[in-house]
């Protein structure tokens, strides 16, 4: 009989079983909140930024196996990257880093990309405000 994990590959299952970076960051520099309960996926992504570098990332996710695995993977990928590099991480890159996702689950990787972008944008908007205040 075929492999029982024909839907998800081993890497996806590994990230589902042992997700990296679960939780929240206290006083995060940026937070991304995407998805909605109607679709069954909600992701929250927290980042800590130091000198333009993302030094820490954590997540909380309500969703299926692929949603949890992509959240886990994107937090791994983003750590140590500068903001410009982080914004370049595409949903495809997340899926590829997981050795691929089933076609019906690609929307989960889109959500991971959006969560990351929204966290970085959150940081940038706060940063700008701070700079404005300082310059006054």
């Amino acid at each position: 009989m075929p492999d029982i994990w024909s839907q998800y590959n081993q890497k996806v299952m590994d990230h589902f079983k042992n997700p990296r970076n679960v939780g929240e960051i206290e006083k995060p520099d940026g937070v991304g909140h995407v998805g909605n309960p109607v679709c069954g996926d909600i992701m929250e992504l927290y980042i800590k930024v130091k000198d333009d570098i993302i030094v820490d990332a954590k997540f909380r996710t309500f969703g299926c196996g692929a949603a949890i695995a992509t959240s886990s993977m994107v937090t791994e990928m983003v750590k140590g990257k500068n903001l410009k590099e982080a914004l370049k991480i595409s949903n495809k890159a997340v899926a590829e880093a997981l050795d691929g996702l089933p076609a019906v689950k690609m929307h989960c990787s889109v959500l991971a990309e959006k969560a990351l972008k929204s966290a970085v944008e959150d940081y940038l908007s706060k940063f700008k405000k701070r700079r404005k205040r300082k310059s006054r």
Partner: protein, 388 residues
């Protein structure tokens, strides 16, 4: 690891005696029932014997049984068959908002071709109000179709009362009884149905075979042309081994189902009670009493169904969910939404459907495992922190 199968509403393992009964019809008994020589007549005899068994189980006459490729074909045959046969009479069908896709999608298909379909709402337990059926009837109504027991939440519908209403109004009455036949007593006269869909693999028979009960005098247009089989109601060489298997499954169900239903209802109630005690923020979906003896359906707040299923599967437990994270539409189960569940609770649903190989130890294992799965996923969930 011992695997525990708790998805009998999806399909059941074929009974070993059913397989045994089928095998000779792949080899020595390979004949075509339409052939007049002995090979053919042996096969025909086996088909007719199975037909009699099916008829007996539901209190029908054997000529009122038409074999099909399964429940889906039986539902298609009932709805389209009645619609096509009554084009001159009317164009309105009454059904419910909690039908199986095999009825619901056929309704949508017919709607696109000019028919009017009324999808009646149900209450929070999934129960249909017979008065709603009465009120929905117009002079154009040609068919009422109500599922006997819903496949997701297990709620048993009041078919007797609806059947009376249908008969009084002289409207054909169909029921998808795929989840009940072979599991609990079903009598076509008691339920007042004119058409009833049956599926073999839901009660330890083979896949790819089912039947439609057609009350004598019911006008129905055949969906298949090209042969004289099934009294011209369904052309195509009969799937003899599968039909024989269906007959055997029916025979075994007749002997075992009363005792088995009682045993499963006991396990069901233990599982429900145990889950309610061990997990907070959980609710039972479906009716607390009027439900299939083998169905448990719960919604677990703050977690998504597929991730629970995957985690259970890693522990060797097979169950089901109404979440649709894997479907293209991403919409959760139409049944759970019809019961009034908010989408996030529908996404967090789990269905356990029990069967003959399940034991008390299996229930205990689920009760031991699921709470820790839920708490692990809740720790990951952004919903639990805000709503706890």
């Amino acid at each position: 690891m011992r695997r525990i199968y708790l998805d009998h509403a999806a399909t059941t393992p074929t009974h070993s005696e059913v397989v045994k009964a089928m095998l000779p019809y792949y080899t020595d008994g390979f004949g075509n029932p339409s052939s007049i020589y002995s090979y053919g007549q042996e096969a025909k005899g086996a088909v007719e014997e199975a037909r009699t068994k099916v008829a007996e189980l539901i209190g029908a006459r054997s000529e009122e049984i038409v074999f099909t490729s399964g429940g889906t074909e039986a539902d298609n045959f009932a709805l389209k068959g009645v619609a096509y046969a009554n084009e001159h009479k009317g164009n309105h069908i009454i059904t419910t908002s909690i039908e199986h896709h095999a009825v619901m999608e056929v309704g949508k298909f017919l709607e696109k071709r000019g028919l009017t379909i009324t999808y009646l709402p149900v209450d929070e337990y999934g129960l249909l109000d017979p008065d709603d059926v009465k009120r929905a009837i117009t002079d154009k109504t040609i068919l009422i179709s109500v599922i006997h027991a819903n496949n997701e939440v297990g709620t048993l519908e009041p078919l007797e009362e609806i059947g009376e209403i249908a008969h009084e109004a002289e409207i054909c009455f169909h029921s998808d009884a795929v989840q009940t036949v072979g599991h609990m007593p079903v009598n076509v006269d008691k339920l007042n149905v004119d058409l009833l869909s049956i599926s073999g693999h839901k009660f330890y028979g083979p896949k790819g075979v089912g039947a439609l009960y057609v009350r004598k005098g019911t006008e129905l247009v055949s969906l298949m042309q090209g042969g004289e089989q099934e009294k011209r109601r369904r052309a195509g060489t009969e799937n003899v081994p599968a039909i024989v298997g269906l007959g055997k499954a029916v025979e075994l169900a007749g002997q075992e189902m009363a005792r088995e239903a009682e045993r499963l209802a006991g396990l069901r109630d233990k599982l429900i009670k145990g889950l309610m005690e061990r997990i907070d923020h959980i609710r039972l979906n479906g009716h607390p009493k009027k439900r299939l003896p083998n169905n448990v359906n719960v919604s677990v707040d703050f977690v998504e169904g597929e991730s629970m299923l995957l985690s259970l599967d890693l522990e060797g437990i097979s169950a089901s969910t109404g979440s649709a994270c894997s479907s293209a539409s991403l919409k959760p189960s139409h049944v759970l939404l019809a019961l009034g569940l908010p989408p996030e609770q529908a996404h967090g649903s789990l269905r356990f459907s029990l069967g003959r190989e399940n034991s008390e130890a299996d229930i205990k294992r689920v009760l031991d495992i699921l709470p820790s799965i839920v708490s692990r996923l809740r720790e990951m969930s952004p919903l639990s922190k805000t709503q706890k």
